[in-house]
């Protein structure tokens, strides 16, 4: 199977640090900001951001995990339903600035579903999107990231695989792979 490395461990680490500094620039003391990781793969990026933010600026930003399975637009269009993941949000987002965090932005349908799911926790003041990999020219919805790691050109026949050391891989790496 053909694989092309998009980001290695060091590059990912630089991007995550850049994200933190951009967040600090835009959200100052994080008084009114919450971070939400989109299940199933966003929480791992979110956890790293939360940890780094605390290291850099000493702030503990409230965060949660958001699952949008029940809000997807492809229910009953798949052969079987997608399995849901845990939603864990212990606060209301009414009037808050929300940063949604995920690893890869592709069609934009998951983010649309996530924004729909998010509204169940209140009306946010502002919503931003943070993405590690933006797959260019693939969007079905008019959705753009506010914080972007890298933009990559991909084909429909390819997918982006994100490997984390925490998930048992040798080290953090992001690849473009041909679908089998």
């Amino acid at each position: 199977m053909q694989k092309r490395l998009v980001l290695d461990q060091q590059q990912i680490s630089i991007i995550l640090k850049r994200f933190c500094h951009q967040l600090i620039e835009n959200h100052d003391t994080f008084d009114n900001t919450v971070l939400l990781g989109l299940q199933p793969r966003g929480p791992i990026v979110l956890d790293k951001i939360v940890r780094l933010l605390e290291e850099i600026s000493g702030v503990k930003v409230p965060f949660g995990y958001l699952d949008a399975t029940f809000h997807r637009d492809d229910f009953r269009r798949r052969d079987f339903p997608l399995k849901a993941n845990e939603t864990k949000i212990d606060f209301l987002i009414e009037g808050k600035k929300v940063v949604l965090i995920d690893d890869v932005l592709y069609k934009g349908r998951s983010v649309r579903a996530a924004m729909d799911a998010m509204i169940a926790f209140g009306r946010p003041q502002k919503v931003e999107l943070m993405i590690l990999i933006d797959r260019k020219y693939t969007r079905d919805y008019p959705i753009m990231p506010d914080y972007c790691g890298v933009k990559v050109n991909t084909l429909e026949s390819q997918y982006v695989s994100v490997e984390w050391a925490e998930k048992g891989f040798e080290k953090d790496a992001i690849w473009i792979t041909e679908k089998a």
Partner: protein
């Protein structure tokens, strides 16, 4: 696995332990949804569900209806008391008439055992059995086991005593299948006249002394005396039943462990369960009702989700 092995939920006997685990895991997610400020998701918004109740029901029907509404389904309700069934219409005609209005799923309760199985063979829609006579009541068994799992961490290895009118209870049969599939040990306890002959062939222990049953078990699931199904006298009087088989706080306090008390409702207070036991610290009866909505959401979601 994220798919059930069946497109109907007719009984626990027909589904696998994997199906039950999938329903539980999905119900965990729906339980979280039910604790949100906005307790609704749009999953079933293009689905119409008919609740067809040929027998009386309060909580099962309300629970199904609420589950359907929380999933954004369109709901139509039908009860036999004010319908053409009174005019002699057959079951299949009644249901086909309802289905011709483009209904996708049917939730049915019927006094005849096997009625939902008959329906499932003859119609296109998904069928959910909400109780068929004295046969099965699968969603009740699922919510009972889900409540045990929530309270005790796991169902496997736990000892569950089902106490009361086993003969007329569809809850008992579904519970036995469900608990055994999940690896629990099951005992039935009641007056000999209210225990079916050969019940031990299902692999359950049989006990006639309620205090001994309580000493053995981790969970006591107390069933209602179903007077409406009893054509003959099975015991001399309710007072006598209560004296020999009724459970009260004093009996629970006498045990050297803390057991969990459940009841599928409606409770005959002072008959099978005294108020001090029904409302006491041992009881998870109200959690069962809460979990019922999450379990029914999971069942409807998983059945509707297959293409």
């Amino acid at each position: 696995m994220s798919q059930l092995s069946t497109r109907h939920l007719l009984g626990i006997k027909d589904i696998t332990a994997d199906d039950i685990q999938l329903i539980f895991e999905t119900a965990d997610n729906f339980k979280e949804v039910l604790n949100r400020p906005i307790k609704k998701v749009p999953s079933l918004r293009d689905i119409t569900i008919a609740n067809i109740f040929f027998e009386n029901s309060t909580r099962t029907r309300l629970s199904f209806e609420l589950a359907e509404k929380r999933l954004s389904a369109d709901v139509i309700n039908f009860s036999s008391s004010n319908s053409s069934v009174k005019k002699g219409e057959t079951l299949i005609d009644t249901v086909n008439n309802i289905l011709s209005m483009k209904v996708d799923m049917v939730v049915m309760r019927h006094a005849s055992p096997g009625a939902p199985h008959f329906l499932a063979k003859n119609i296109q829609a998904n069928v959910v059995n909400a109780g068929d006579g004295t046969h099965e009541h699968p969603t009740q068994a699922l919510l009972d086991a889900f409540s045990i799992r929530e309270k005790l961490g796991d169902v496997a290895g736990k000892k569950v005593a089902i106490i009361g009118d086993i003969l007329h209870s569809r809850v008992a049969l579904s519970n036995i299948f469900c608990l055994q599939k999940l690896g629990a040990e099951v005992m039935v306890c009641g007056p000999i006249t209210l225990l079916p002959k050969h019940i031990d062939s299902l692999g359950v222990k049989v006990e006639y002394d309620v205090q001994k049953a309580l000493e053995w078990c981790d969970v006591a699931n107390v069933l209602r005396i179903q007077l409406e199904r009893q054509q003959i006298k099975y015991f001399p009087s309710l007072r006598e039943y209560s004296l020999y088989f009724g459970i009260n706080k004093r009996m629970l306090d006498k045990l050297d462990k803390k057991i969990v008390v459940m009841h599928p409702g409606p409770i005959n207070r002072g008959v099978e369960l005294n108020s001090d036991a029904a409302d006491g610290e041992h009881s998870i009866i109200l959690q069962q009702v809460e979990n019922g909505v999450a379990i029914r959401m999971a069942v409807l979601y998983l059945l509707a989700g297959a293409k």
